[in-house]
Symmetry: C2
Subunit: 444 residues, 2 copies
């Protein structure tokens, strides 16, 4: 993309009402614009990151064998009356009346709707196991929306639902989600620690939250530092293998990691003192096993191998897709701006032309742009006539992990400069070598 | 995808309340399930088609230089009061009150919101031309929703907005959309004819609708048969060239093609009699140039080269993404089911195993599945134990354009059968040749 043809409205001033780094930086980098309280438009740069995160979530869910579909944003109140949650849910549920005075609501979650789909179409254990998920906009009428997309009212979330014949099968589904979530966050350059949590309005006994450590996190967390040393890496996991998935869950959950809701000072005291950590975290996902909580009242039954009608065992599993954009920034920024992990960066690298209008410099930039595009990469080429300082400041602010700087002096030696946003380190090399270097970073 | 692990709830009976073919077939093929009146869940098969259509729309918009972003579903009433449309819009607008009693609405369109974004960030002609678009769920509270996704209440739509310094530049943007829409529909296997139309509540003088010919269409259309002979094909169009785009528009608009709203019997009579056609059509897109209708009241001004503040010239341009799923089916089905064009098919082909459980047949199917996957294709392998007749009926119903049938008798001769859903013609060949044949159809 050529910057001269893009829409990147960066702000010079820091917005006064933004209290945390991710909110400030998303506004300054031209990623979002508030449309109304807690509701945001995703400007082109922000939209790119949102889509990249969404794509990773899709890939990892499908790798785990979960099936994508899409439920609508508005739901009828009827199903929620069946489950008993219509009255139980508080004022955070946005209730709506349509022109025929029918009660509707903007879905904050989808247990009822998915259970209705299931009971309409599935009647035998032979059709199980089944895990369906979708990524859709949801609404939660927060009384005081704040922190930008971290605690907005309209938010984008992946929610998935497993249907299994018994508790053991449902726990395997729970574990598959546990593993796939760890992979998902790692691909985004995040370390999210699974912590034993409380279930809240979804219900159920077994639940883990995934938290990214950050001083601005809303949750107080207590953990054994050893849990931060574990990596999924490129382990070969067979998602059909109960043992494979259980082993990962056991490895993580053997170590103490809890939010303040479930924190037990006595148990925590058994962690070796030098590994005891106390801090704050941002919740970026949660998984639940809740058994027959919805299938019983809503009649989601299947016949088992003996011909008995039994309620299915269910769980639900969420990843906050729009919230992750903020969480990644909270975990990865400095005083100059955002530092995108390669897995989610909106552009693979920036190209800064130090003398736009100089024929040789322009030609070198164009050749580099074409060479990167030929590798399937998407660079952002700053082809504007801004001065070098402004170009560098914008690149630092928007946080592309790599920058290639092209100027007449370097070109006279046949060199351009490749700079890491994270370390600030630069290296001179030929334009061809620069394209290959960036290609190698992205594995192309 | 293996059918035994998929969720494809096909219906044996024809749903009683579905009046048109696309609605019936989408329900029967397990593509959608009604969630409430005019609101649908997209089951896995339907979701795949929706995503394929969305991807084509994105690609063709970006090829034309238009920039993707995303606006929220809910909007504040304030901006609509500024434009004067809050009171002007009828009961089809879903009005909502949040917990603080603020007036909100579920966006039926986004002229106000995009104009607000523009005026907040753009102040000079140097930042023009600019076309932003998004694909987002919208709501229109139809009094009598019907025809499934063709006339639902919650619908998925691409809407794009151009901002230009003067009328001539804005007409070029209009023409870019005209050309990109033709390309978009052709890639979906559709012939959509641009017809002069009326502007309705969006406003403006210049507008074309794109209509797919179908007996079930809601619009009466009159056209010169010669317009149906034009194809975009793989013309090399430079979207920056006003002449290139204008030439395409001129070629199409030189021939009579109008909806009943703008039909002129006198002008139509000048079309040679043997080319005069009268029929029905389904609207799948509309483009508008409306000048300064929103920029003037909302103060979306830029400085021109002489330093004067002038209102920008705008247009808006929509493609009905969810509606297209229905429109494609209306245009392409037979008594046995859907016939997907290759450009949007949910799976590239089906593999029917005639004797599941027979070791040699299973192995041949697995090898074929792997060979197709290695080409980057996504086959649907019916590995269930259903009888052959039921498997064929399901494949015909869900409409995959190609089917490979694998059975012990053919395998004894080293052959499988490749069948076209459209023509019903079959050809026997080796499994390797079958994989290559399907690959060649999809250009891989």
């Amino acid at each position: 993309m050529r910057l001269s043809r893009y829409f990147l409205p960066v702000l010079k001033e820091t917005p006064a009402d933004a209290q945390i780094a991710s909110h400030r930086l998303m506004l300054r980098a031209g990623m979002i614009k508030q449309a109304s309280a807690g509701i945001y438009s995703w400007l082109p740069l922000g939209y790119r990151v949102l889509r990249n995160i969404e794509a990773i979530v899709h890939e990892e869910q499908q790798r785990a064998g979960h099936i994508p579909m899409l439920m609508p944003t508005l739901q009828s109140a009827e199903l929620w009356r069946e489950s008993g949650r219509y009255d139980a849910y508080g004022p955070e549920m946005l209730r709506i009346r349509d022109r025929h005075d029918r009660d509707m609501l903007y879905g904050p979650t989808n247990e009822e709707l998915i259970t209705d789909i299931f009971r309409s179409h599935v009647s035998s254990y032979r059709e199980l196991p089944l895990t369906l998920y979708h990524i859709q906009w949801k609404f939660r009428d927060e009384i005081r929306p704040r922190f930008g997309v971290m605690r907005g009212r309209e938010f984008y979330m992946k929610d998935g639902y497993n249907f299994d014949i018994d508790r053991a099968a449902a726990i395997h589904a729970y574990n598959r989600h546990f593993v796939s979530y760890l992979r998902t966050y790692e691909r985004m350059g995040l370390q999210a620690i699974p912590m034993r949590a409380e279930s809240g309005p979804i219900g159920g006994d077994d639940t883990h939250e995934f938290l990214v450590l950050a001083d601005t996190g809303e949750s107080e967390v207590f953990y054994d530092a050893a849990v931060t040393e574990i990596r999924m890496g490129d382990r070969d996991i067979d998602y059909d293998s109960r043992a494979d998935c259980q082993a990962v869950v056991d490895e993580y959950t053997a170590l103490y990691a809890r939010t303040d809701d479930t924190h037990d000072a006595g148990v925590f005291a058994e962690v070796p003192e030098d590994r005891r950590r106390h801090g704050r975290g941002i919740e970026v996902g949660q998984i639940f096993y809740f058994g027959t909580k919805y299938s019983e009242p809503m009649g989601a039954m299947v016949s088992d191998p003996e011909g008995n009608r039994v309620p299915v065992h269910m769980g639900s599993h969420g990843i906050g897709v729009s919230r992750l954009v903020g969480a990644i920034i909270e975990a990865s920024h400095d005083e100059r701006g955002i530092i995108w992990p390669e897995g989610v960066t909106p552009f693979h690298c920036g190209i800064v032309n130090l003398r736009q209008g100089d024929a040789a410099t322009d030609a070198a930039c164009e050749a580099l742009y074409a060479a990167l595009a030929a590798k399937g990469l998407d660079p952002l080429y700053d082809d504007t006539e801004d001065r070098a300082g402004a170009k560098f400041a914008t690149m630092d602010l928007i946080g592309l992990p790599w920058r290639i700087t092209v100027g007449p002096r370097g070109l006279a030696q046949g060199k351009v400069e490749v700079t890491s946003r994270r370390t600030g380190e630069s290296e001179e090399m030929s334009p061809e070598a620069a394209a290959d270097r960036i290609g190698a970073i992205y594995g192309v």
